[in-house]
Amino acid sequence: MSTSETQYLEGKASEDYKHGFYTDIDAETAPDGLTEDVVRYIAHRKDEPEWLLEWRLKAFRHARDRIDGGETIDWAHLDYEAPKFDEISYFSAPKETASYDSIDEVPDEILETFERLGIPLEEQKALTGVAVDAVMDSVSVATTFKEKLKEKGVIFKSFGEAAKEHPEIVREYMGTVVPYTDNLYAAINSAVFSDGSFVYVPEGVTCPMELSTYFRINEAGTGQFERTLIVAEPGAYVSYLEGCTAPMRKENQLHAAVVELVAHEDAEIKYSTIQNWYPGDPDTGEGGVYNLVTKRGLCKGDNSKISWTQLETGSAVTQKYPSVILAGDDSVGEFYSVAFTKGHQQADTGTKMQHIGKNTKSTIISKGISADVADNSYRGQVKVSKNADNARNFSQCDSMLLGPDCGAHTYPYIESNNPSAQIEHEATTSKVGEDQMFYCHQRGLGEEEALKLIVNGFCQEVLQELPMEFAVEAKELLDIELEGSVG
């Protein structure tokens, strides 16, 4: 290796985690632990309507019972200490919680944070046409492009605002796709969710721009419990982007979000995620975010479509299964995923496709890349109900191993109760082909460049599903992640 290349790599190595900095903003934090008082405090603090508090309390009692009953979620291929639910602070909000009329009113500190993350609001406004609902420690601080969306009748708000301003819609859909009884984390989220995004696209409207929210976990020791609800009325279309980064932190941080999507007849929802939270110390695995998320979409109407695309590169522990319930006839569910784990990262991710309506189709493309001593699992379920005639599924799960000490695992569950179902599942596990490397070398590419090229090619099928703005960022992110993986 040449000196300049060494220097370059050393430079890259020292910038290991690009987004690891901490914004110094006064924040209010609720007392630690999950108690009724905390739930009431959160509801009061956010000035929520009574019905929402009632709902939270119901979820709280359920969550409390499950925690007191000693419930743990240990079936996944993950090895980590379960979060201590009574040592977590369930709410933290930047002190100045006012909603801003214009960007100018947002404190410079916060704007700066976003700038360092590479999402200057002004620039995005001008160049990309992306409306950004920036969530900073749970409370929405800036929302742009409201006017343009308003024209079309699209509602894009923080969850808290939506609950106040559009209670009839929120009440109708909230908890219908992911009920608070669904799992322990969904129950906790339902009790103490801080904020999140709400999107409503009226009948026949194609949302004029990609909607995007950046989440950041900021306050030390606080979990973040977003709740996102997207409703697409008949014939509507919306594409939603979610991107995540988190500052460097020593202790483990819990992130247990709930995302619910509802697509009515002929509607389509496309949900894309880039997750790049702090993965913990690469040598010891210390610290890092626990990303334990419940995401589910309901294809309620005939001909509806829900598509999940995700690029998971961060977090110490990732456990998420964005799923689609294909209830409407001829509905379509898609799942495209790249999960990259290195260092001591662990990921157990996949999807669930539940075919209920007739002539439903689902596609699952999952690419797992594992390096160092990381473990990467795909866990997915395809279920065809008795009446789901002519259901069709295609699944492909490929794993790539970069190094002798990492692990890649595949756990697909296929349950078919209908004879007309056609289900195909394929999975492969292998390392980067020596012949591929050789070919790249003889075309003049160095080892690292070759690896980047091959891995990018391996993930191409998924990355091309991302919206343009994200696809570029995703490729960059993968390249950065791969640096230092050549051994």
């Binding site: 079936w75 291929h77 008795k386 794993s399 191993l401 970069l402 190094g403 002798p404 000490d405 990492c406 692990g407 890649a408 695992h409 595949t410 756990y411 697909p412 569950y413 296929i414 349950e415 078919s416 109760n417 209908n418 004879p419 007309s420 179902a421 056609q422 289900i423 195909e424 599942h425 394929e426 999975a427 492969t428 596990t429 292998s430 390392k431």
Partner: protein, 446 residues
Amino acid sequence: MTTTLDTDVRPEDRFISAFEVNHGQALNGTNASIAQQREDAIERFAQLGIPTNDLEAWKYTNIAKTIDRPYTLPLAPEGPSLDPSDVAPFTIDEMDAHRVVLVNGRVDASLSDIGDLPSGVVLSSLAQAGEEHPSLVEEHYGQYADFENEALTALNTAFVQDGAFVYVPSGTVVEKPIFFLHVTAGPESLFLQPRHLFVVEDGAIAKIVETQHSLTDAQTFTNTVSEAFVGERANLKHYLVQDEGPHASQVHTRAGQQKDDSVYSTNTITFSGDVVRNNATVEVNGSFCESNLYGLCIGKGEMHVDNHTQMNHVQPDCNSNELYKHVLNDESTAVFNGKVLVTRGSQRIDAYQQNDTIVLTTDANIYTKPELEIYADDVVCSHGATTGQVDEEGVFYLRSRGLSERRAHILMLQAFTDEVLSEYKIAPLRSYITDKIRRRFGSYFE
């Protein structure tokens, strides 16, 4: 001696109290280490309990419900005396084999026809082997089947009395197949726990065929544990045909251990049964080995067949192939859960796994879960699973060649199953199976 299991208490306690009542009846008389295993096993069984659906490995098969029936637990089953004519329909006479008939898990010499064996080869009951070759039994018995994590293996280990035993010494080739014909008979609802041990030493070659039949309409349960040791450069082919009828349930646990350069193939065909669970575990504890796991389930009626396989690659430079196929008719249910494990450092492994299912009716169900767990990077592992119907284009082609719809469907299904049968290297056995399958498919379209 028989013990009727008391159905008023928890199923686990029935067995534990039956064990205590009959305490001290050591297996094979003298062997202390086997007696000790028995104690450890019942203790472990008490801790594990009978598996419920909450356990991932038993998610789709409610074995607890099947075990919770009023069975009779014979400690040393005295088989009812059968005439050769009783077993005549099952003897596969075209197959020239060393035939051993086991009635209710015990060897019945009068029905058997062992013939001449190559020198040094032992073919007997496990109890007899325990007396005549104690060191051989002790060396291998209980070494491969894991009772620490499998409650039913623990249960079998606690109550072990008898079963089949094969020993093929180093460098010996047994040309003719060794054929174990298992028959369940008698009016009682038996809970049988046979135990088999097959030892094929370095460089030896053997083929073992097992078929299972029932002569009774009583509800029976057979909890079999079968261990196989395949030495260096040895080759063992093991065929199992399950056709016990609609009243017989079973858990059949097979554990194989392979040494360097060995080949081990198992092939399981299930024609009938009530609830059938097959656990096949292969531990490839050597390099340059080949392992083949094949299975076929021809579902009819309400049968429930669960094939659970575990392919453990703990040494480098091996390859394994796994192929399971199901054809499901009526209200039958099939479960396939295959796992390939490649441990850290087990480089250069090629492991393939495939599970294909044809579902013919709306009441048939398939649950499949092919798993890969890989901890080494220089490997090529893949799995695939498909579920679908008979290819209508194929049927159309055959019809255009003048075949009736019925014939065309039967032929298509036969073609589907043939891939598994191609592993049958014993021609008479293959034609026996093929014929059985054809008749079964024929009955689908009457």
